[in-house]
Symmetry: C2
Subunit: 301 residues, 2 copies
């Protein structure tokens, strides 16, 4: 699976930052080749959560770097479900908007499913509309958009030269936003996929079967080196705070995988930060650019 | 998993016919308790395929036995996609119809996805609308209807006292109508699920991990006894014709599992015919009765 598979040294690192930069350059190139359309991403932020505000700011900045427009809508923390849906509907109608991103989580008391279901399927660049997930699940039914983080995991594998077809993949976690859709994408890439979760008995021995491990469970450094088949490839979707007194902040970010340990067993591992993280925004921009390109194409016909 | 797990004799047989009869009795009971609504199932048959006509006839007969109405629409083999969609739309509007079943396969040249997507999600008792599949895939998003054969597999397990939670389940086949949805249902029942397919390397050894095997691949007696973990439970969704000179017809129906061989290894096996087969219609009626019961409830509010 990699030239490092058989050696006893440390496994290679999949540089998500570099791969995301490569993808952004491709997007910039595609965007500049459009003649009549400028891709527009709408971001909807409800309330004052600092982390959410940071994520939205990063997305807006990334848009501008790729030559894309962003349209921002901020609502107060006490906005009603009806208020948010009204904003979404107006964005659905806005021809300058090719993708709509409602930043999650929404404040308590707001039904996220109700809000997300309102996003026009053609603008659902996050790929979380149940209709998009249904088409993602079914064979021969291309979804308009695949969810960004799962799609990013697949891109990391492909651009690192990892063959997926015929391999055993084990996904740790079955969340709607990562575990489930990444399992479906791996299945469509012809991997033999096992989906594990909190009820899985002897998780370590299940993970030990995997040629490809995707950890998306949200538990600090849970996957250990002795859970891995030698030479496997590990994609770490986790993003957890770990106390670290040497840092000014008092903590550092770590994944769901014990990175230093696992490098001794795996042929390739993604680091945290700098692995899957940068891919999520890159794939969001990719989905939005694709939507705009489809728009220009259909207008030309 | 069963009292027969540890013995060296033959495994038990899951009697799908008896379980389906039990479910039909429950449905009959529920239907008779409705005061203002008679559940109505619409069947749409296009063309002259004998097998399709037989399936539709069986469904209509089963409806009547459960006290349900059936509304049949037959179209000629040269009906256009537009003709079929017009029929579906009229049934969507018909308040006497609680479920719509378009018998597959449709004639060549008709896009099945286009037709099935027209069925109102509230009447999609087959459960194949991508929106229903999306909700089936996602956690916490109850689909209105689960597809009948996969739901039938789960019922067979539950009513045979098989514990699913925490067990290893291996599904052979990833079709939209069985393999994929049954994998999702098993996952929601907290099994650790592996989905296998034609690209799976060493299928036998993957199946050998399973406490629960669901074979849904459409290949005559492919799953052999030496593929099984002793004491496992086997659900055989296959329905294949095998040449048999002792039969007047010249063939007999067999599943995807070598039944006689596998009984020596498994604790429980479904036979073909008489296993999963009868469950499909029972679950179709269940879905349709549920739709009507929901109707009466919401009318009363």
């Amino acid at each position: 699976m990699s030239s490092q598979e058989e050696n006893d040294g440390l496994g290679g690192i999949i540089d998500g930052k570099a791969i995301a930069a490569e993808i952004r350059a491709e997007i910039r190139n595609d965007v500049s080749s459009l003649s009549s359309v400028i891709p527009g991403l709408a971001t909807v932020l409800v309330g004052e959560r600092k982390d959410s505000a940071t994520y939205v700011r990063m997305k807006i900045k990334a848009c501008s770097e790729c030559g894309m427009e962003s349209i921002h809508r901020a609502l107060p923390a006490d906005a009603t479900e009806g208020d948010i849906i009204a904003v979404v509907r107006a964005l659905n109608e806005d021809a300058c908007v090719h993708g709509i991103l409602v930043q999650l989580p929404l404040p308590d008391g707001i039904n996220e499913e109700n809000v997300l279901s309102e996003i026009s399927i053609e603008k659902d660049v996050d790929g979380f509309h149940p209709l998009n997930i249904g088409k993602l699940a079914m064979r021969g039914r291309e979804p308009l958009f695949a969810p960004c983080t799962p799609r990013g995991c697949i891109e990391l594998l492909k651009r690192s030269g990892v063959e997926i077809s015929g391999k055993e993949a084990v996904v740790v976690g079955r969340s709607n936003i990562v575990g489930l859709p990444v399992s479906l994408l791996l299945m469509h890439e012809n991997a033999t996929v096992t989906i594990t979760h909190s009820r899985t008995v002897d998780l370590a021995s299940v993970v030990r079967r995997a040629d490809i491990v995707v950890a998306a469970v949200g538990r600090t450094e849970m996957v250990k080196a002795d859970w891995l088949k030698p030479g496997c490839v590990v994609i770490d979707v986790g993003m957890n705070s770990k106390p670290d007194s040497t840092r000014k902040s008092g903590y550092r970010l770590v994944g769901d995988v014990d990175f230093e340990g696992c490098r001794k067993k795996a042929s390739l591992v993604t680091p945290v930060p700098g692995g899957v993280g940068p891919m999520t925004i890159a794939m969001l921009l990719r989905n939005c650019a694709d939507a705009a390109m489809k728009c220009e194409k259909s207008a030309a016909q």
